[in-house]
Symmetry: C4
Subunit: 128 residues, 4 copies
């Protein structure tokens, strides 16, 4: 089998969960998502560390992604070890024991019509 | 002739076709697109595999891009071997036998005004 | 002096100039832009080739960026050797004789409120 | 301890602070942001140089990011050595003495509903 696609460490410098929303939940709730793709044949054990501007980092938040599956995780839904406060600047580092692919998305419905943005995360440790 | 631009494997971790739309079709139909650029002198034989959160992957979806052409493929329009369900998280891996460039876009018209997002896909196998 | 930032070849797989607009021109005219940054001490001689789905490529469009300057070029404004048709899928390859940085943006005002998207282009020939 | 994530030089080719806004400030003020993540154990001394289309670059703007912290800096708020004019095309190069991760965002509220866009910056000097 060929080498699985992706890298073992990723980073997202932007993070902000808007405090308000318009439209039906859960689809139109303002949210930020980290999309994880594990195209490998092995379970991916993922740890997310969340950085802030004025306090020590939170985490790690532990997530397991089954082989050949994707998981789109809303930062809004992270609870253990602690929820991420709304209306607060943050950033995140995502580490995995098998190569994965990571993409970041925000749906912002603070005003009446939604706005969207996305980017691939910064990829690191792609050689192993 | 110089080496063609691009890579032979790409991945997109985000995927979601909204279930509803506003505005005139087909332009304003909510859709996700994978944009393929084949700047080489050879036909590109492309295979897309689609990953889900709770079932085995679908595909491969086979697409041929002529030399020195671009093709913008809506995930909404993929039919063979099976359509991609709306309102469902997915991700994709795109493989080609010649180097290509891959970019991902969503137009979301669930609310009255459209929203757009785009990113280059994650590039892999760029050295060959 | 340190090595200038950037690469000598870039590619953008997405391209589409909407046919309609809302709001005051030129700011709110639907447009796609290629943003070029030449942080080097030398003039950058840039050539853009535009690829289509159903005909041979157009170009090269030639642009000179002065040393230590940025230039944000609307695809809408390219005229020589030919304008880029609206409402048509395209893609582009950007080549420069000195390292530059290339980013792609679309402002879409087909509906009453504008939508924005951006991504860094795919970078190639970064080692020289 | 493992090697810190990121690179020592980054570039963003797009830059434009809209002249007008709709909605409550400061959240809905049209703005562009550079998001800096310093996941290392050392202070990051960051210098931003801003490039224009028709004049010499401005800066450097000096910013210190504490260890294990993120800082989201609005270009609107840069004052020393000079403010960045609104309604003007610009671009930026971000240099740091320790590896950091850099992402770019614009919230545009020129029309009644906001629009968002984001991308990771172009990464350079990642090997050291």
């Amino acid at each position: 089998m060929s080498k699985p696609v992706g890298c073992k460490r990723w980073a997202i410098a932007e993070g902000y969960i808007p405090e308000t929303s318009n439209g039906p939940e859960p689809a139109m709730l303002s949210h930020e998502t980290v999309c994880l793709l594990n195209a490998s044949e092995h379970e991916a054990h993922v740890e997310i560390t969340v950085y802030f501007s004025d306090r020590d980092p939170a985490g790690p938040y532990r997530i397991t992604v089954a082989p050949r599956r994707t998981m789109h995780v809303r930062f809004n839904d992270l609870r253990d070890p602690e929820p991420i406060p709304k209306g607060t600047d943050y950033a995140s580092v995502i580490e995995s024991d098998v190569p994965i692919v990571v993409q970041h998305t925000r749906l912002d419905s603070r005003q009446a019509e939604n706005a969207l943005m996305t980017t691939m995360a910064y990829a690191d440790r792609c050689g192993s």
